[in-house]
C-alpha cells in the first residue's frame, strides 16, 4: 500500500514538474533511456553520469552518459522543453561514406528515427548545408529553410546502414522569428540580379567566364538571420557552383543574397557560408 502511495506521489511530482515546464533529472534519465531504445540500442542501459544544466552556458541541457552494449552513449536534453538536443553513441569507427548515396534501408531507418525525434517530414536535403549522408533536416518556416550555418537551423542524424542504429544526432536550435512568409520579388528578377552581380564580381577578379548565365542556375527561397537583426529576412540565393574555363574548380556559390521583399543585394555575415 505504501508502495502505491509512493508511486502516486511520484506521479504528482512528475505532473508538477511538467506543469512548470522544467524536466527534472530523473525524468531526463527516463526519457533518455526510452530514446536510446527507440534509436536501436538493445540490452541494458546503465546510467553513468547525470549533470545539471551548467550555469552560464548558452543552453539549458541536461547532460547524461550511459553504458550500453554498443559503447558509451551521451545524451543532452533541453531542460525547459524536454526536447532531444543531441545524442551520440560511441560505436567503433566506420568507413568514411562521404558522397555515397544512402541505401533504401538506411533511408527507412533514418526516416523512422527522425519521426521519433519530432521531425515527421523526414530528411530535407534540398540544400547543400551539412553532410549529405547524415541527411540535414531543415527547420522550415512557412515552408522555407534557413541558410545560416552558424548556427545551422537544421538537425542531422547518422544511422548505421546495417543495424539501423541511430548513433549521432544534433538537434536544431529554435528558429528565430522571420520578417515575411511570401516573397515580393520574383525568382527570375532575383536570379538576374545575382547573375549580374556574379559577372561583375568575376570581372573584378579577372575571371570573365567565371559565371555562366546560360547554365541552369536555380534560385532558392529561404531565410537568413543577420546577427545584428532581431528577425530573419526572406531572401533569394543561387546555390549552384560556378565554373571557370581552364580551371578545375570555380568560385564557389554566389556569396550574395537578394532580399525577397525589396530586391536589395545582401552579403551574408557568416564567413562559413558557402
Amino acid at each position: 500500500m505504501l508502495h502505491i502511495e509512493t508511486m502516486i506521489l511520484a506521479l504528482v511530482i512528475a505532473a508538477t514538474l511538467a506543469g512548470h515546464g522544467r524536466m527534472d533529472g530523473e525524468a531526463a534519465v527516463e526519457k533518455s533511456g526510452k530514446l536510446l531504445h527507440e534509436m536501436g540500442v538493445t540490452g541494458p542501459i546503465t546510467l553513468t553520469k547525470l549533470l545539471v544544466p551548467p550555469t552560464g552556458a548558452p543552453d539549458k541541457n541536461w547532460r547524461l552518459s550511459f553504458d550500453t552494449r554498443f559503447g558509451e552513449a551521451d545524451v543532452q536534453l533541453d531542460s525547459e522543453t524536454g526536447k532531444v538536443a543531441r545524442f551520440r553513441i560511441l560505436i567503433p569507427a566506420q568507413e568514411a561514406r562521404y558522397n555515397k548515396p544512402p541505401t533504401s534501408r538506411e533511408t527507412a531507418f533514418r526516416a523512422r528515427a527522425l519521426r521519433l525525434l519530432g521531425y515527421p517530414d523526414g530528411p530535407n536535403t534540398g540544400s547543400n548545408i551539412g553532410f549529405p549522408e547524415r541527411g540535414p533536416v531543415h527547420v522550415l518556416v512557412h515552408g522555407h529553410p534557413f541558410f545560416n550555418l552558424n548556427p545551422t537551423y537544421a538537425a542531422s542524424l547518422a544511422v548505421d546502414p546495417e543495424s539501423g542504429l541511430a548513433f549521432e544526432f544534433y538537434g536544431s536550435p529554435p528558429a528565430p522569428p522571420v520578417n515575411a512568409s511570401t516573397q515580393l520579388i520574383a525568382a527570375a528578377a532575383a536570379l538576374e540580379r545575382l547573375r549580374r552581380w556574379g559577372h561583375a564580381d568575376a570581372l573584378k577578379k579577372g575571371l570573365p567566364k567565371a559565371v555562366d548565365p546560360s547554365e541552369g542556375v536555380v534560385a532558392e527561397l529561404g531565410y537568413w538571420k543577420f546577427k545584428d537583426e532581431p528577425t530573419a529576412r526572406l531572401v533569394w540565393r543561387a546555390s549552384k557552383y560556378s565554373t571557370v574555363e581552364g580551371h578545375r574548380y570555380g568560385l564557389g556559390s554566389l556569396r550574395m543574397f537578394v532580399d525577397a521583399l525589396n530586391g536589395q543585394m545582401l552579403k551574408p555575415d557568416d564567413a562559413a557560408w558557402g
Binding site: 506521479l11 533529472g25 530523473e26 533511456g33 526510452k34 531504445h37 541494458p44 546510467l47 553513468t48 547525470l50
Partner: protein, 279 residues
Amino acid sequence: MILALLATISMSSAQVQFPPVVDRAKALLSGLGEPGPFRLQSMFTTPRYNGGKATTVKLLSPSGIDYTAWFHLPETDVSICRGSEAGSAGMRPTRPDSDPKIARKIELWLHSIHADTPHRTMTITSDRQGTGFAYVALTSRGYPYISAPGAWYGPTYGYEFTFDYPSMRIRRLDYTEHPPPTDPSPARLDQSQATSALARVIGAEYVPQGAQRSNSRWFSLLEPPVLGYYQSPGRAMATVAWKFSYMAYGSSPGGVRGGSGQMLIDALTGEQVPSNPHR
C-alpha cells in the same frame, strides 16, 4: 486508471538501470527519516587523490530540499548531507550530552539504515546553537576500531551523525563500513603501562621545561585512553592498540613548543604506531 498509470511508470523506469549508489542514497535518506520520495538530480564520478574515485549523488525531496551523497571507493566510506546545512566535518560540538533521547535516536537510525555490525557509541555532544554530534564506532571482540576521524590513522570504521538538536533531524552522516578482520591476540599492556609508553615517546621529543620550573606535568591526557583495533598499513589484520588524545608542551632543540595530538600505542609491543602518510 491508476493501475494503467503505474504500469506506465514501471515500464519507463525499466528502461535505464541506475547505479546501486542511487538506490543506496535514497534508502539512507528514508532510513534517516527524511520525507521522500527522492528524485535523482545529478550523479557523477571523479578521481580521488589516492587513486580511488568518488561518486556524487544529488537528490531532491518533494518539498524542494536537496541532499548530496558521496560514495568513495575503494575505502567504501560514505557521506550524505542535507542541503547547505550540512556543516563541516571539522566543526563539531564538544560539550558532552547525556540526553537519552539522542542515544535512542542514534540506535533507531542505525537500525533503519541496516547498520547491523556490532558497534559502540563513543561520543555524544551538542552545542547551544542547535547542533548535535554522535560518533559510533564499529567493534570487534568487544573493542572499537579506533581509527581517528581526520587523523593520520586511516579511515573511521563507524558512523558520525551530525543533527539538529533537540529536534533530532539528521544533517549529515559520514561512515565507513567493512572493517578489516582482527588479530585475536589480547593486549599485553594495560592502561597504566600504555600511558608510560606514551610518556616515553613524548619525553623523547619534549624536554620537560615546565616541570623544571613549576613541578607541573608536561603532558596531560585530554580524555581517557581507548583500547581498540587499528590496522597498520600493509597488514591484513587489525591489532590491539591504545589510543591517546593528549596535550603536551616543552622545549626541544628546535625551541619551545606544544599543542594537542593523538597517538596510538601498540598494545602488544608498547611502541608508537606510525601514522599512515597516505591518508
